[in-house]
């Protein structure tokens, strides 16, 4: 019995390490420090998210306030001053809107839709995956068959279809105000199957383990077992797919908006801006298209690289 008493434990001799120090020394952060590409990707992501969050304060102009727009400012090339004396770093579009400001506000919409859609897909996919993996039997086969069928079609097609159906159900007068939520639902619903599949597999492994049996014997409510005990153990892969899924969702949103079925024109996202810019490609006003496109590519690439790194860092077998 006495050997169990804490008599001068070794750990106490070493100087206590601060929380930051522990994070800095952890495996995950170590692999982060070692990879310059990942650091660059993280920097780009943080910068873009920050710029999107603080768009109203950073943006030199308010591009959606008709009072501040001047058609005389239209088609100003980048880094030059317009006829009315306004300076445009990245040029201005046909309505005299500052391209830099529209990009800042546009990436705000893109990120908001992308994040919400991914979150929606995760919540839906994880709950269905947990249910399927834990219950097994009929529930499992129904959920997984639906997921199989859905996975055999490209996400963009499913999203288009859901968008079309929603448009038919919602009265036309509310299309504009509902568009962004319909878009989030459509992208989210087109991506849940990935999460469900992964979580179901992991849940089936976890439910065999002793701690779940122990909890069950103790009479813990199944819902509580799922959420408090199994969920934390299956979240690792979800984080990885979620990050890559975020990049996919951003691209999906841009594609839908580019096709003209996404966000309303009053709230342009990066995809809408590219759609607008495409019209001026032939007349030589390249900057209206170029800068939103570069922003979208950088954003998607950075988030993708972060996802790749996360996958490698959380999965030691791949190292």
């Amino acid at each position: 019995m006495s050997s169990l008493e804490p008599s001068t434990p070794v750990a106490a001799v070493a100087p206590p390490r601060s929380f930051l120090r522990r994070v800095w020394d952890s495996d995950v952060f170590f692999s982060f420090r070692r990879s310059p590409v990942t650091i660059a990707a993280a920097l780009v992501t943080v910068l873009m998210v920050g710029a999107a969050l603080f768009a109203p304060w950073i943006a030199p102009y308010d591009p959606f306030n008709p009072a501040s727009l001047n058609l005389m400012d239209g088609f100003t090339p980048p880094m030059s001053t317009s006829m009315t004396g306004n300076y445009f770093l990245l040029g201005s579009d046909h309505q005299g809107r500052d391209v830099l400001s529209t990009i800042l506000y546009g990436s705000r919409v893109s990120l908001f839709v992308g994040l919400s859609a991914t979150l929606f897909a995760i919540v839906l996919g994880v709950s269905l995956g947990l249910t399927a993996g834990y219950r097994g039997g009929m529930t499992d086969s129904i959920i997984m068959r639906v997921a199989d069928i859905q996975l055999s079609f490209p996400a963009i097609l499913i999203a288009l279809l859901i968008f079309g159906i929603a448009r038919g159900i919602i009265p036309p007068s509310r299309h504009e105000s509902m568009a962004i939520w319909v878009l989030i639902a459509a992208i989210g619903l087109s991506n849940w199957a990935q999460f469900a599949r992964t979580v179901r597999g992991a849940t089936m492994v976890e439910r065999q383990k002793d701690y779940v049996s122990a909890a069950r014997i103790m009479g813990v409510n199944p819902l509580r077992i799922l959420i408090r005990h199994i969920l934390p153990n299956v979240l690792g892969p979800v984080l990885v797919i979620g990050t890559i899924g975020l990049a996919l969702a951003i691209i999906e949103e841009a594609t839908l908006s580019f096709l003209g079925v996404g966000v309303p024109p009053t709230q342009p996202s990066l995809g809408t801006l590219i759609r607008i810019g495409q019209g001026f490609l032939f007349s030589g006003e390249w900057w209206i298209l170029f800068f939103p496109a570069v922003t979208l590519i950088l954003l998607a690439l950075a988030v993708n690289l972060l996802g790749d790194w996360l996958r490698d860092a959380l999965n030691p077998r791949l190292r």
């Binding site: 055999s152 079609f153 097609l157 079309g164 159906i165 495409q278 590519i297 998607a300």
Partner: protein, 327 residues
């Protein structure tokens, strides 16, 4: 073999029925089918008569059965927007999409295999590193940006190729082809490249991975020991064995090529079924949406079925597994 095919066939039919149910619900409950047929001053009892005549008051399962019966005969009603039979619309636009899809599948297959073999045989050269990096960027770029980029370089700056449309087409019965005219072929180049890039990188990476795997195996080492020429080993022995998964993936991807052609067709204003569908979604032209859904599902199911059967025929190990021997 027969049991396997029958089982797959049954699965395919179930999938088609589920899709048909979705399409039917879309058709029946999104918007009122009668509203498009009557004017503002139609009397209520006339509307009721029309409903009765169209069978809209029948029980759900009867309506659904009738929908399937019509669908099997290729009857999907009349487009709200264009006031033409939907089937006619789709059939008239199908050749454009099919030509585009096959041209891009061909590009993807040829360049994917060539680049995949090259990068596998010379793993540590600068060119391989460049190709692999480019393919990574190519995968993360959205299709429509690739299309716009190609338009900018080849149509706006260099002015070598047209940026939209199909060029001149020739009627061959019901099939309007752009392949027989100079302008038609030139118009096909940019959209086909755009559509092929994603599949190309996929095939390339697959061929490379399979080749690297195969080249490590013993029979390749023995072939080298026997003094066979490099070409015979690389192409006669190694490449042949990598082709099974490549064929499968290419076949399976053909369906998504047709689906992805929605985006490419919009960028290049290509008059195919994809742009028809996009225009229908924008104005909620439900009959066209339902028919397109059924059509795409049919293409997917048929391709999946063919690939499964082909796979089964090509790989003898599957057959042993199917009968129940081995693990």
């Amino acid at each position: 073999m027969l049991a396997f095919i029958l089982r797959r066939l049954a699965q395919s039919i179930i999938v088609m029925l589920v899709v048909a149910l979705v399409a039917f619900m879309l058709f029946r409950y999104v918007g009122d089918p009668v509203a498009g047929l009557v004017g503002q001053d139609t009397r209520l009892h006339e509307i009721e008569e029309l409903r009765e005549r169209l069978g809209l008051n029948d029980p759900f399962y009867m309506q659904f059965a009738r929908f399937i019966g019509n669908a099997v005969q290729g009857e999907f009603g009349i487009s709200y927007r264009l006031q033409q039979p939907v089937t006619e619309l789709i059939v008239s636009r199908l050749p454009a999409t099919i030509e585009l899809a096959f041209a891009s599948a061909l590009i993807a297959l040829v360049f994917g295999v060539v680049l995949g073999v090259f990068t596998a045989l010379r793993p540590r050269t600068f060119a391989t590193g460049l190709i692999m990096t480019l393919s990574l960027i190519g995968v993360s770029l959205p299709t429509f940006l690739i299309g716009i980029g190609l338009i900018y370089v080849f149509a706006v700056e260099l002015q070598w190729l047209p940026s939209f449309g199909r060029g001149q087409v020739i009627d061959l019965g019901w099939w309007r082809t752009g392949l027989l005219t100079e302008s038609g072929r030139r118009s096909l180049i940019l959209p086909a490249i755009t559509l092929s890039l994603f599949q190309l990188t996929l095939i390339m990476r697959l061929v490379r991975a399979e080749m690297l795997e195969v080249l490590r195996q013993d029979y390749i080492r023995f072939a080298r020991a026997r003094g066979l020429s490099k070409r015979a080993i690389n192409f006669g022995h190694a490449l042949k064995n990598t082709m099974v998964p490549v064929i499968t993936i290419t076949g399976l991807q053909l369906g998504s090529v047709i689906a992805f052609s929605i985006v490419t067709e919009t960028v290049f204003q290509w008059p195919g079924v994809g742009s028809l569908f996009i225009n229908s979604v924008q104005v909620v032209d439900v009959p066209v949406m339902a028919a397109y859904l059924m059509f795409i599902a049919f293409v997917f199911v048929v391709i999946n079925l063919i690939v499964d059967i082909l796979y089964y025929a090509v790989d003898p190990r599957l057959r042993v597994h199917g009968i129940g021997g081995g693990k």
